[in-house]
Amino acid sequence: MEQVMYPQSGGTPPVRPKNYLVESILVTIFCCLPFGIPGIVFASQVNSKYDAGDYAGAEKASKEAKTWTLVSFIIGIAAVIIWIIIAFTTTFFSAMFHHNFHP
C-alpha cells in the first residue's frame, strides 16, 4: 500500500477533508435504511486520521464516506419510488375491479 507522506512539522498541512458526517446522520435517520452507518464510521476515521497527521488516510476515508452516503441516499430514493409505484398500481387495480369504481 503506497502511502504519501506529508511533512509532520514545518509547512502547512493540507486542507482538512470533508467528512460527510451530517449527510451520513441524515441518511441513517431519514432514509429508513441502515446503510448510513458505514458513512458515520468513515466520517469518524476522517477526523481521527487527520488529527493524527495521516492526511492521505483521512482523504481516503473521506472518499469512502462520500461513496457510502451517496449509495445509501440513492437506495433510499429508489426504495421510495418503487414503494410509490407499487402503492399506486395496487390501489388503481383494486379500484378498477371494484363495483363502485367511478373514474
Binding site: N19, L21, V22, F30, C32, P34, A43, S44, S48, I84
Partner: protein
C-alpha cells in the same frame, strides 16, 4: 447561476416540499408513506424507523411524542439546524465559517456509539426499552 446556488435552490425546494407534505399528512393513517425496507425484511426496527412519524410530530411542536417514535431524530435536531444555518450563512454572506463540532474525533465516535446502541436497545424485548421502539 453557479452550481452552489443551484444546489441550495434544489435543497430548499426539497426541504420545503417535504416539510409541507409531512405537515399536512400524518404518516399514521396514510398508506402512501413508504415503509422501512429493513423493517419489512427483518421485522426489526432500524435506527431510522419511526422518523417519518417523528418528523410529523416535530413539525407540530410535539417534541416528546417525536422522541417516542424516534429518539435519535430529536437528539440530532439541534446539530442539523446548526449545520444548515452555517451552510446557508456561508453562501448568503460569502463566509467560510467552519462546522467545527462535526470535525472533533470524539463527536463522530459518540454519534456512532449512540446510533448502534439505539439500534440494539430499541429491539430488545425488555419492557424498559419499549419506549425506544418505533
Amino acid at each position: 447561476m453557479s452550481i452552489a446556488r443551484i444546489k441550495i435552490l434544489l435543497i430548499s425546494i426539497a426541504v420545503l416540499t417535504l416539510g409541507l407534505l409531512y405537515y399536512f399528512f400524518n404518516p399514521v393513517g396514510h398508506s402512501f408513506f413508504p415503509k422501512c425496507p429493513f423493517y419489512a425484511l427483518t421485522g426489526l426496527d432500524c435506527p431510522g424507523c419511526g422518523s417519518q412519524r417523528a418528523f410529523y410530530a416535530l413539525l407540530h411542536g410535539h417534541l416528546l411524542e417525536a422522541a417516542g417514535y424516534n429518539l435519535l431524530s430529536v437528539l440530532v435536531l439541534p446539530f442539523i439546524i446548526y449545520s444548515a444555518a452555517v451552510f446557508t450563512g456561508n453562501h448568503l454572506f460569502d463566509k467560510n465559517w467552519k462546522q467545527n463540532i462535526f470535525y472533533k474525533p470524539w463527536f463522530a465516535k459518540a454519534v456512532l456509539v449512540f446510533v448502534l446502541l439505539f439500534w440494539i436497545l430499541r429491539n430488545l424485548p425488555f419492557p424498559c426499552f419499549h419506549w425506544m421502539a418505533a
